[in-house]
């Protein structure tokens, strides 16, 4: 009893002395029950729990119901609701301008898989340090429920239309293209999603999270493979995840055969206890294999699918000065008069 109360009290203020409400956003205007709202909650939880400094956070999105959701979390944080499918480039520019920012990007399966797939691919390829969340409902929510490119073959719209094009597996794509942290989860799986988000916040590089997030208004009926019921019963949880943040001094006992330990960039550790499949998430081909096999079975592999904790991210590759480019003073960005004179002489 005593510990319970204590932990309750402890929960109210995080490591940097902030209360949970600081991480909340304005009231959602999404449909009641929309998966996206649940994901917002998990983002709030994870940022609070990890004690992320709000002034160092930015949130970005494209266009869609999903892309609206950044308004509904982290209300005191700078955000940019860009244009449809183009959040990756805006995020890239922002992070180059200020490499100290922690960036959370939220997109939809339409926003990413259709109009935005090009920018998605190039962001993955650059291993930009961002948490890229696809709130994946297999349809275009905001334009009233058309199929998106993640809709499964045979999935049925409310109107009876059947999808006959194969889905794009954004996790497989991300892995193949160079993302260094790739996970799939479900908006309804509070525990798994929170653990993955925390781990993603501890990672340096692109953390791509495909979160199945049922659209209760347009894609939650019988015959849809992205309905709450279908996803819940077809989510094939790959592992049990235990996340230990770097700032908590906890040691974990585990049996090495079953459980894999991954140390993340900031020193946090992730313990993966394999459930459904036995594979090594640091092995690209095995990760792709798991995705392929579960897909063939008509299931969704959920959990951390691939991770490569130590790889140069894009900003490192750029070899920038330590201070954010955006705040460099004039004397560090405008060369001296002597430089201009030197150039002029070479052209005289």
């Amino acid at each position: 009893m005593a510990t319970a109360t204590q932990s309750l009290k402890k929960k109210k203020i995080n490591r940097i002395g902030l209360e949970l409400p600081v991480y909340r956003g304005s009231k959602t205007t999404l449909c009641a029950g929309c998966g996206h709202n649940a994901i917002s909650e998990r983002i709030i939880d994870a940022c609070f729990a990890m004690g992320i400094e709000p002034t160092q956070l930015v949130k970005l999105s494209g266009i869609g119901c999903s892309s609206k959701s950044p308004a509904y979390f982290l209300g005191s944080v700078h955000g940019f609701n860009t244009v449809h499918g183009r959040m990756p480039s805006v995020g890239t520019g922002a992070l180059i301008a200020n490499k100290n920012l922690v960036a959370i990007g939220v997109s939809g399966d339409g926003d990413t898989g259709a109009i935005g797939i090009g920018q998605f691919i190039h962001l993955m390829r650059r291993n930009l340090p961002i948490i890229y969340i696809i709130e994946d409902n297999g349809c275009y929510g905001l334009t009233k429920g058309q199929f998106s490119p993640t809709a499964d073959v045979g999935s049925v719209l409310k109107t009876g239309v059947v999808n006959d094009l194969p889905p794009i597996d954004t996790c497989a794509l991300a892995i193949q293209l160079g993302a260094t942290f790739v996970a799939r989860s479900f908006s309804g799986d509070k525990k798994q999603l929170t653990a993955i988000l925390k781990a993603a916040l501890s990672h340096r590089g692109t953390a791509m999270l495909d979160v199945l997030s049922p659209c209760v208004t347009f894609n939650d009926h019988e015959g849809s493979t992205k309905s709450y019921a279908y996803v819940k019963s077809h989510a094939d949880q790959l592992e049990e995840l235990d996340f230990v943040p770097y700032f908590e001094d906890i040691s974990v006992d585990y049996e090495p055969g079953e459980t894999q330990e991954v140390t993340l960039h900031d020193g946090s550790r992730l313990y993966l206890k394999k459930l459904a499949e036995s594979y090594d998430p640091t092995d690209k081909m095995q990760a792709l294999g798991v995705l392929h096999d579960t897909h063939e079975r008509g299931e969704f592999a959920t959990g951390l699918i691939y991770v490569k904790p130590a790889a140069d991210d894009f900003l490192t590759t750029l070899n920038l000065v330590d201070e954010p480019l955006a705040s460099l003073p004039e004397d560090r960005v405008r060369p001296s008069k002597a430089v201009l004179t030197e150039i002029m002489e070479s052209l005289a």
Binding site: S26, V83, L101, L325, S327, P335
Partner: protein, 632 residues
């Protein structure tokens, strides 16, 4: 300088029949692209420049990489006209494929230097021909097959040096500027120059009237292309984030910028960069990155040409409406569509001014010279941050990729203007932060940037109120776009002022912008000298326009707007802004065939429109000058 003096003294006497033509003719080198003639041409150009003779150099090249005809033209003009001139007096015919046609195109008494195997002297008899056995001469210089191709071109420089009197030592200095401290390369090229010179000295008797003589006209000026100039401007403006996608004729802007940044903006000790350049996956992404960086507080830019502009519409609208700074260079080429990627035009005026759906309009800057490419680049970043909006710099292929004499660049007189970025002091002064509040009445709100400790806001391209909250309210929307219009009005007096030259005797005015300027300068003198037609001149340097525009038009009965596009695009913009009574005084002179506009075309056109001439020449018939602006 003694050296050039000697050269002049040793020059053989011109043929008795013709007066010498000194420092007032064009040299055209016809080659095949990819054959490495660029060095020889630039050395020749620079040597003449260094001799104090006004010059300009223009490269007309095809949209492929190697094997097609290319013409490099050097115009020398003692009076300082550096615009395009159609006529060429000196031809260096290196391309067997075009040699005959090039020769046929010349006026009588022109001179031709050519490979003797081409036997061009059989084509016409009214020219001065100088056959040169290039292959044999090259063999004297080097046996390296790869080198030969390049060296071959230096030989004609040597020949011209002798024939025209271009100082060999100035050529060597130019060579050194080109090759830096590659001593061997310089020596080999110098050898080729000497071989050419010696051949001409021994075998070619000067029979043409064309001569270069030293002058003192270029004092202090530099020789540079507009893209390099803009690149220097961007660096001096303190740009930190550059995102681009290759496209002719804009690529060299960013590529030169990369060179300069690597040289001058990398920390000597740590090796770290105070900038980032990203080659994006396309133009949409390039502008997206620039916008993201601008939002996050960096000075950011991209550079492109027409096709890229067409792709940037949606993002430009976002930046306009969400009020994010970005600098966009549009080095214009001939459209529509892929068009003529290696030809010049001023055809993106309307598409940039109105870029994106909805009620949008954007400020444009029109540099006419490398010096303005430089200074307007510096200025563009200040303007973009002050006004929190995309600012376009409309250069063109002619300006961007050709060699221009220009004033040396001045170090920025003012510190960087980062605009209304919120800090504690400002916040205290204005009391309350509302991202889109018009605190100062100029339409420009205050902004805060991520990563600092000022109040945050959610930036969006969808409807928002003064506090940047989502809003679909009619009044919020209207108040906001009315403020944006106020901001646009504020621009007028912040943008570079026009350059106006009033001639009190003139009833006729001329308006131009960008590279068209140089042809107009020369045309005005032609109009005065040939027809005693006095003109005043107004050069736009930016859109939206200043009130001076109306005053200028008021002073004149007719005003010719000269531009390099079919649709009289600048006139369309001006009509939107001007009292119709004044708009009624506008006439168009349009040139749009991909070549640079020249003075003769303008002069002839204006003289016809003014009634000095009535007949139409064949060439004129191609140009229905009122196409696209005709009334009902």
């Amino acid at each position: 300088m003694p050296a050039s003096d000697v050269a002049v003294e040793e020059r053989p006497a011109p043929s008795a029949s013709v007066e010498p033509v000194v420092n007032d003719f064009s040299i055209q080198v016809a080659t095949v692209n990819g054959s490495g003639s660029q060095t020889a041409n630039l050395v020749l150009l620079r040597a003449i420049f260094q001799m104090g003779v006004p010059v300009s150099g223009k490269n007309m090249f095809p949209s492929n990489i190697a094997g097609l005809p290319t013409w490099f033209t050097i115009r020398t003009n003692k009076d300082g006209y550096i615009g395009w001139k159609k006529k060429t007096e000196v031809l260096v015919a290196m391309n067997p494929e075009t040699a005959r046609e090039d020769t046929l195109n010349l006026d009588a008494d022109s001179m031709v230097v050519y490979d003797e195997s081409l036997k061009l002297d059989s084509v016409r008899s009214d020219l001065v021909f100088y056959p040169v056995p290039f292959d044999r001469l090259v063999a004297e210089v080097t046996r390296d097959v790869k080198m030969r191709r390049r060296i071959r071109n230096m030989i004609y420089d040597g020949v011209l040096s002798r024939l025209l009197g271009v100082d060999l030592d100035q050529m060597e200095i130019a060579l050194r500027k080109q090759f830096g401290n590659k001593v061997k390369v310089v020596a080999l090229n110098r050898q080729a120059l000497d071989v050419g010179y010696a051949f001409a000295e021994q075998h070619l008797e000067k029979r043409d009237p064309y001569r270069i003589e030293s002058m003192d006209e270029n004092g202090g000026r530099i020789l540079i292309d507009g893209n390099a100039a803009a690149a220097i401007g961007c660096m001096m403006a303190g740009v930190t984030v550059v995102a681009w996608y290759p496209i002719t004729p804009s690529s060299s802007l960013c590529e030169t910028l990369i060179d300069y940044l690597r040289k001058y903006r990398v920390d000597k000790e740590t090796g770290k960069a105070s900038f980032a350049v990203v080659q994006a996956e396309d133009e949409i992404a390039a502008l997206g990155m620039a916008i993201g960086a601008g939002w996050a507080g960096a000075r950011s830019m991209t550079s492109t040409s027409g096709p890229g502009i067409s792709l940037m519409g949606e993002f430009v609208g976002l930046a306009y409406y969400a009020e994010v700074p970005a600098v966009i260079f549009d080095v214009q080429r001939v459209g529509p569509s892929t068009g003529l990627p290696t030809r010049t035009a001023q055809g993106d005026v309307l598409s940039t001014a109105f870029l994106s759906h909805g009620d949008t309009r954007h400020p444009l800057l029109f540099p006419c010279s490398p010096e303005e490419c430089y200074s307007m680049a510096v200025n563009a970043f200040d303007l973009a941050e002050r006004f929190q909006t995309p600012v376009f710099v409309l250069s063109d292929l002619d300006l961007g990729m050709n060699q221009w004499m220009t004033q040396p660049f001045e170090y920025p007189a003012k510190p960087m203007d980062r605009g209304k970025v919120l800090d504690e002091e400002t916040l205290e002064r204005i009391g309350r932060f509302g991202r889109y509040r018009d605190v100062d009445g100029d339409g420009i709100p205050y902004r805060s940037v991520p990563g600092r400790s000022m109040p945050a806001y959610f930036c969006r391209g969808s409807g928002h109120n003064e506090s940047a909250q989502y809003s679909e309210r009619a009044d919020d929307y209207q108040r906001n776009v009315d403020r944006l219009m106020r901001k646009f009005e504020t621009f007028r007096n912040w943008l570079p002022a026009p350059v106006v030259e009033i001639n009190r005797k003139a009833r006729v005015g001329i308006i131009a912008y960008g590279t068209t300027h140089w042809a107009v300068v020369e045309s005005r003198d032609q109009l005065r000298d040939e027809a005693d037609l006095q003109t005043s001149y107004y050069r736009h340097r930016a859109y939206p326009f200043r009130s001076a525009l109306a005053s200028f038009i008021e002073r004149h009965d007719r005003v010719y707007v000269v531009e390099q596009n079919r649709d009289a695009q600048m006139v369309t913009l001006m009509r939107t802004d001007l009292r119709p009574e004044l708009a009624g005084r506008l006439r168009s002179v349009l040139h749009y065939n991909g070549q640079s506009i020249d003075a003769r075309t303008i002069t002839d056109d204006i003289l016809i429109q003014e009634g000095y001439r009535v007949e139409f020449s064949e060439a004129d018939e191609l140009v229905p000058r009122d196409a696209g602006v005709g009334g009902e």
